[in-house]
Symmetry: C2
Subunit: 339 residues, 2 copies
């Protein structure tokens, strides 16, 4: 049975969604879960669930907690008994195959990188976000927030890791990999995209050149490569727009009685829609390139999001994605003397 | 009576939306319109409208046309009798107070900059896009595509121009200006945003610091400053997402009979929604910092978008925005010896 550690103190509403999510995962997915955090707090939450003691769930005590106000550097240096750090250590020591955290993204990345280490060949781990598309097939965007200033060789590494994710976990055959820019033509873009183009073209992947912002949702590309600054902006612009649209639809629909009746009759469609654009269905974003598995969730994650993140962590572990990344990097560097 | 020139050959479906839009504007807005393009083609389109000869619409012949495949440099150097260039020349020669084009954005910018020249004090003109927000008040994003690699002083100029646009044209009092980044804290961002922070703080505007992608739609900021690469990605990500959501809603609503009935009853709400997120209501994006007025429309613009762009051009001209920009830049530079 796979074991996944969950940082029970990470999210904005911890430990409730973490504990609820762990219970759902233990029931539905057949995984063992270790909840990491202050034992008294976590146990109290766990005991509010009637059937908890029949499930494969354990608690691992950790006395400290990283907050949104702690810098990543401080998280790594100062709080040596934080729930985040203890969860990461469980992975390093092979007590768990992966861990899930809805905490401070910068702190999660820095901790995983330092405690677990990176896969040989990888310079900088990157966060891979999954986006829905018109065609229904999920699209991977890498990096969505780990590395704000990138070199062409970092983008090339992201491309390889994203391609493996799409192929091995999302089961896309020969995923189409594109570079996020502001026009399809090769000369369009900024200094960084233009400088990255030759290297990306030389990779042993199905690289389709520049793609534009609107292609993220169009289904014409499976992996979008960008630096973490752009990726984070794209992700958050999307979140903000979805929130606004939900609001607008609600307002418009509440404006008259006829529309209200219409709303009642078309409610299932709205539920569908919300589910399809809801990040919590996608189960968090993997930090690719670290040893072991690390899944980063939104701070606002609900129990469903945590459950799905545990599922993704288990899939990554079974899919042996790190071994794949390591062997692809070896193959790639092997073909390029001195690189 | 204000006169606005329209590049009748610019858009993807030219000259139909341009001519239709000109007719709507001449009827509704009390402006005179000069349609610029191949006389035979434009006249044929114009004559398909029964009442055209009673309206203040004229045709100015231009023998050439810029296509999406022409580079901006080529457009400026080679095609001296293009509809775009002739329209820009009408503004320079004071035969029109502004011009509207749905053509190749790079070519429009390069042409306007060269033919009309820039407002004294401005280094680089920038495109200001208007976005809807949850609160209903429009938000200005600058730059959305003109300048891909920017320095801190360029961002500072964008901030000042965007602030004037928000205040003078959109009538926001003391507009809140934010720098697009990946976290609100000052240290979050990339090299460029961190380097720009001190300069932005020193400006005589209501600068509120870093804002995130989701704030574009939240109504908590009136002007978002960013380089043209990020701005263009944010704009196109939003377009792509809106398209996907329209699609999803349609699909979900068509799935069962009850929902279809619901759809009929709530149809007005959808029309509302589409109108509120429809770029064509916003009437194109002004190129700020050039002398005269230049409004850039989406290549896919319909007649309504062209009409609204003509309206915006007229508003910019009456609002004397360029004089404002010039005096603000003089004031700003006056306060900073040697800048």
């Amino acid at each position: 049975m796979l074991t996944i550690a969950v940082d029970a103190m990470g999210g904005d509403h911890a430990p409730k969604p973490e504990v609820d999510g762990a219970i759902r995962a233990a029931k539905a997915l057949g995984v063992r879960v270790i909840l990491v955090g202050r034992e008294d707090v976590v146990r109290r939450e766990l005991e509010s669930h009637a059937d908890y003691d029949s499930l494969p769930i354990e608690i691992q005590h950790a006395s400290e907690q990283i907050t949104m106000h702690d810098s990543a550097a401080k998280a790594v240096r100062a709080k040596r008994d934080s729930s985040l750090r203890v969860a990461s250590r469980l992975v390093r020591d092979n007590c768990a195959q992966g861990f899930v955290s809805a905490g401070n993204t910068g702190a999660v990345m820095a901790t995983a990188k330092m405690v677990q280490g990176v896969v040989p060949g990888v310079d900088r781990p990157a966060v891979a976000g999954v986006f829905p598309t018109v065609t229904g097939s999920p699209m991977v965007m890498i990096d969505v927030g780990a590395n704000v200033d990138c070199s062409p060789s970092m983008l090339a590494q992201f491309a390889i890791m994203g391609e493996i994710y799409s192929r091995m976990i999302l089961h896309r055959e020969s995923p189409r990999v594109g570079l996020l820019s502001i026009g399809e033509e090769e000369h369009k873009g900024n200094e960084m995209t233009r400088a990255s183009m030759p290297l990306l073209k030389s990779l042993p992947i199905n690289f389709i050149g520049n793609v534009e912002g609107r292609d993220i949702y169009s289904g014409k590309v499976d992996v979008v490569v960008c630096d973490g600054f752009i990726g984070n902006v794209a992700l958050k612009v999307s979140e903000g727009l979805v929130d606004m649209i939900k609001n607008m639809l609600q307002e418009s629909l509440e404006a008259t009685i006829t529309r209200k009746l219409g709303y009642v009759l078309s409610k299932a469609a709205f539920t569908d829609f919300k589910r399809r654009v809801d990040y919590s269905e996608y189960g968090g974003a993997p930090l690719l390139g670290v040893k072991g598995v690390c899944i980063i969730c939104h701070g606002r994650s609900n129990a469903n999001a945590i459950k799905n993140a545990i599922r993704v962590a288990a899939e990554f572990s079974s899919g042996k994605i790190n071994q794949r990344i390591e062997s692809e990097f070896r193959r790639w560097n092997g073909g390029k003397a001195g690189d």
